[in-house]
C-alpha cells in the first residue's frame, strides 16, 4: 500500500471529522450528555417498542391474513378481504354506533358535571377537604368492582335503583342498558374531569374576576367571558384524554351487559372475535380499525381544536 493512499485516507478521515464538527460542534461534555440521554431513555423506549410498536406492526400483518385459531393449518394472505368483511358487517357499525353514543354522552355530561364539581371544590366556603376527598372515591375504585355494584343495583327485586324505578330491569333493554352504562361511566370519570378542570380553574386570576364584577358583569357573563376562555387549554386536554379513554370502554360493558342486546362497544367486539370466535385475522382487523378511529379523534383535537398535545410544553419552564 502506497503512502499516498494512506495520506489520502488520513485526509479523508480528517475531512470527515471536521465535517462532523462543523455540523454539530460537540464538546466532550455535550457528547457525554448525549450518550447519557440515550442510555437513560433506552429501557423505556425498548419496552414501549416491544409492547406497543411491534404488536401494532404484527396486528397490521395479521389483519391481512386469514388466521383462525381453530384452523391453524389454514393460514393464508388474503389482502383486504378482512377489512371488507368487517366494514360490511352490521356488527361493526352497530358497535361503532354504541361506542360513539357512549363516548359523546358520557364525555359531554361528565364535562358539565366536572365543571360544576370543579367550581364547587374551588368556591365552596367550608368542607372543601371533605368534598375533594369524597370526589376521589369514584376515581380510586376499581372499575369492575363499581360495575358489579351498578349491575346489582339495577337487578330487579335485588337492587335499590331497580326498586326505585318500579322494579324495572334496564339491563335487558338496549336503550336503557346504554343509559345505565353511560351513568356508570359518568360516575367513575367525573372526578378525574373535575380535578383536571380545578387545576385549570385555579389559573384564572381572581383580580380579573373582581374587576369584571366591579364593571357589573353577571356571574354567567364572568363564567363565559373570563373563566371559559382562560380555561380553554385545560378543558381541551381534559376532553382529549376523556374522549380517547371513553372510546376504548370495555370494563363497564363487559360486566353490565357483556354486549348483549346490541350494547357492545368496538372493544367488546374485538375481544369477542378473539376469545369467542378465535379469529386472529378479523380480531386484528378490528384492532387496526379502532386504532385508526383513535388516531382520527386525536388528530381532530390536536389540529382542529388546537389542543396542546401533553408533553409539548417540555422545556417551557
Amino acid at each position: 500500500m502506497s503512502t499516498s493512499t494512506q495520506v489520502a485516507a488520513g485526509a479523508e478521515a480528517a475531512k470527515q471529522t471536521t465535517g462532523r464538527r462543523k455540523k454539530a460542534p460537540l464538546s466532550e461534555g455535550a457528547r457525554a450528555e448525549r450518550r447519557l440521554g440515550f442510555l437513560l431513555c433506552a429501557p423505556a423506549v425498548i419496552v414501549m417498542l416491544a409492547v406497543a410498536g411491534y404488536p401494532l406492526v404484527y396486528a397490521i400483518f395479521l389483519s391481512f391474513e386469514r388466521y383462525n385459531l381453530e384452523l391453524p393449518q389454514d393460514i393464508k394472505f388474503v389482502g383486504f378481504s378482512n377489512y371488507a368483511a368487517v366494514l360490511s358487517s352490521p356488527y361493526w357499525w352497530q358497535a361503532l354506533k354504541v361506542t360513539v353514543i357512549i363516548t359523546v354522552f358520557s364525555v359531554s355530561i361528565s364535562l358539565v358535571l366536572g365543571m360544576l364539581l370543579a367550581m364547587v371544590m374551588h368556591r365552596t366556603i367550608f368542607g372543601r377537604g371533605i368534598v375533594r376527598t369524597a370526589a376521589l372515591v369514584p376515581y380510586g375504585i376499581v372499575t369492575v368492582a363499581a360495575a358489579y355494584g351498578w349491575e346489582y343495583a339495577w337487578t330487579p327485586s335485588q337492587g335499590y335503583l331497580s326498586a326505585a324505578f318500579n322494579n324495572s330491569a334496564p339491563l335487558t333493554n338496549e336503550v336503557q342498558a346504554i343509559i345505565v352504562i353511560i351513568i356508570a361511566e359518568i360516575w367513575k370519570t367525573t372526578p378525574f374531569m373535575g380535578l383536571l378542570l380545578l387545576a385549570g380553574l385555579s389559573l384564572v386570576p381572581d383580580d380579573l374576576q373582581r374587576a369584571a364584577m366591579v364593571d357589573g358583569a353577571t356571574g354567567w357573563q364572568r363564567f363565559t367571558k373570563i373563566t371559559l376562555p382562560l380555561m380553554k387549554p385545560a378543558i381541551l386536554v381534559a376532553l382529549l384524554f376523556r374522549t380517547l379513554d371513553s372510546f376504548r370502554i370495555f370494563d363497564n360493558i363487559f360486566i353490565l351487559t357483556d354486549g348483549a342486546n346490541n350494547t357492545g362497544s368496538v372493544s367488546i367486539l374485538g375481544y369477542d372475535n378473539l376469545f369467542n370466535a378465535l379469529n386472529l385475522g378479523i380480531g386484528s382487523t378490528i384492532s387496526i380499525l379502532i386504532f385508526i378511529c383513535v388516531a382520527i379523534i386525536a388528530f381532530i383535537f390536536i389540529r382542529g381544536f388546537g389542543t396542546a398535545a401533553p408533553g409539548t410544553n417540555t422545556g417551557t419552564r
Binding site: L40, F126, A134, V144, A146, L196, P233, R248, G270
Partner: protein, 279 residues
C-alpha cells in the same frame, strides 16, 4: 357566586351542594359494601341497609384460593410493574427534562401515542405473541404490558415534577467534580423522590384497576388478578348467583385502595394535574 362576605343563606346553599356531591360519590360504594354484608336471603331484598348482617361472604372468599391467590397476584404484579415502570420512567423523564440529545420529541410523541393507545388493539397480537413466547398466563405476561402502559403516565408526571427541581444544585455538584450520573443519583434523586412516589401511586392504581389485559392474558388463578377473578366466582350452590361473595370481593379490593387514595390525596391530585395543565 364569588362574593367575599357570606350570608347564612349562602352557607346553607353550599352545605346542600356539598352534601349532594358527597352523597353522589359515596352511595354506589356504600351499596356495594352493604351487599357484601347481606346474607344470601337478604340479598334478595332491595333495601339499602341489610336486614340480616353477616361476615359470611368475607369468610367464604378469604377461605378459597379462587380469591386469595388472585389477590396475591394483583399485589405482586402491581408492585413489580410499578417499580420497573417508575425506574425506567424516571430515567427517561430526567433525560427529557435536563439533557440535550436528539430524538427527544420522538420519545415524547411515542409516549403520547401509547397513552392514547386503545388497549384492545394490542390484545389480539399480544395474545398470539405471548402464547408463542410462553408468557401467556404468567406474571411477566401481565407485568410487561403494565410497564409499557405505565411508562407514558410516568414519563409525563415525572418530567413535570423534574422541571420544578432546583437544578442549580446539580450544577453545583458538577462544579465540585461529580459526573452527570453522580449528580443524578446523589443530588437529584432525593429531591425527586416525592414526584416518584406520586407516580408510583398512579401507576399502581392503573395496574390494580386493569381488567382487559388481566382477562385476556391469563387462564388460571396462577396469574389471574383479583378484578378478573370475580368473573369466575361460584355461588354457595350452583343455582345461586354469587352476589354476596362478588360484592365482598369488590369491597375487599376497593376499600384499601380508597383508604390509600384518601391518605395520598394531595399527591394524587398533584400528579393527575401536573402533566395535563400548561403552567
Amino acid at each position: 357566586m364569588a362574593a367575599i362576605t357570606t350570608t347564612p343563606r349562602q352557607k346553607a346553599g353550599w352545605g346542600v351542594t356539598n352534601f349532594v356531591v358527597i352523597a353522589l360519590a359515596l352511595i354506589p360504594v356504600l351499596w356495594m359494601v352493604s351487599l357484601s354484608f347481606k346474607t344470601p336471603a337478604a340479598v334478595l331484598d332491595p333495601s339499602f341497609i341489610p336486614s340480616q348482617w353477616t361476615w359470611g361472604n368475607y369468610d367464604q372468599i378469604l377461605s378459597t384460593s379462587q380469591f386469595v391467590r388472585p389477590l396475591i397476584n394483583s399485589i405482586g404484579i402491581g408492585i413489580i410493574a410499578t417499580l420497573v415502570a417508575v425506574v425506567f420512567a424516571s430515567m427517561a423523564a430526567y433525560a427529557i427534562a435536563r439533557l440535550r440529545f436528539p430524538g427527544k420529541s420522538v420519545l415524547i410523541g411515542m409516549a403520547l401515542l401509547i397513552a392514547m393507545f386503545p388497549q384492545i388493539a394490542l390484545v389480539t397480537p399480544m395474545f398470539n405473541i405471548e402464547r408463542s413466547l410462553g408468557l401467556f398466563n404468567t406474571w411477566p405476561g401481565l407485568i410487561i404490558p403494565y410497564v409499557a402502559f405505565g411508562l407514558p403516565l410516568g414519563i409525563y408526571t415525572l418530567s413535570a415534577f423534574f422541571r420544578e427541581i432546583p437544578w442549580e444544585l446539580e450544577k453545583a455538584a458538577k462544579v465540585d467534580g461529580a459526573t452527570p450520573f453522580q449528580a443524578f443519583v446523589k443530588v437529584i434523586a432525593p429531591l425527586a423522590a416525592p414526584g416518584m412516589v406520586t407516580t408510583a401511586i398512579l401507576v399502581f392504581l392503573a395496574c390494580w384497576n386493569d381488567f382487559l389485559f388481566a382477562i385476556s392474558f391469563t387462564s388460571t388463578i396462577s396469574s389471574r388478578t383479583a378484578p378478573a377473578a370475580m368473573e369466575y366466582f361460584s355461588g354457595s350452590s350452583q343455582f345461586t348467583v354469587p352476589t354476596g361473595p362478588i360484592a365482598a370481593a369488590a369491597s375487599f379490593i376497593t376499600i384499601p385502595i380508597i383508604v390509600f387514595v384518601l391518605f395520598f390525596q394531595r399527591r394524587i391530585v398533584a400528579g393527575l394535574t401536573s402533566g395535563a395543565v400548561k403552567g
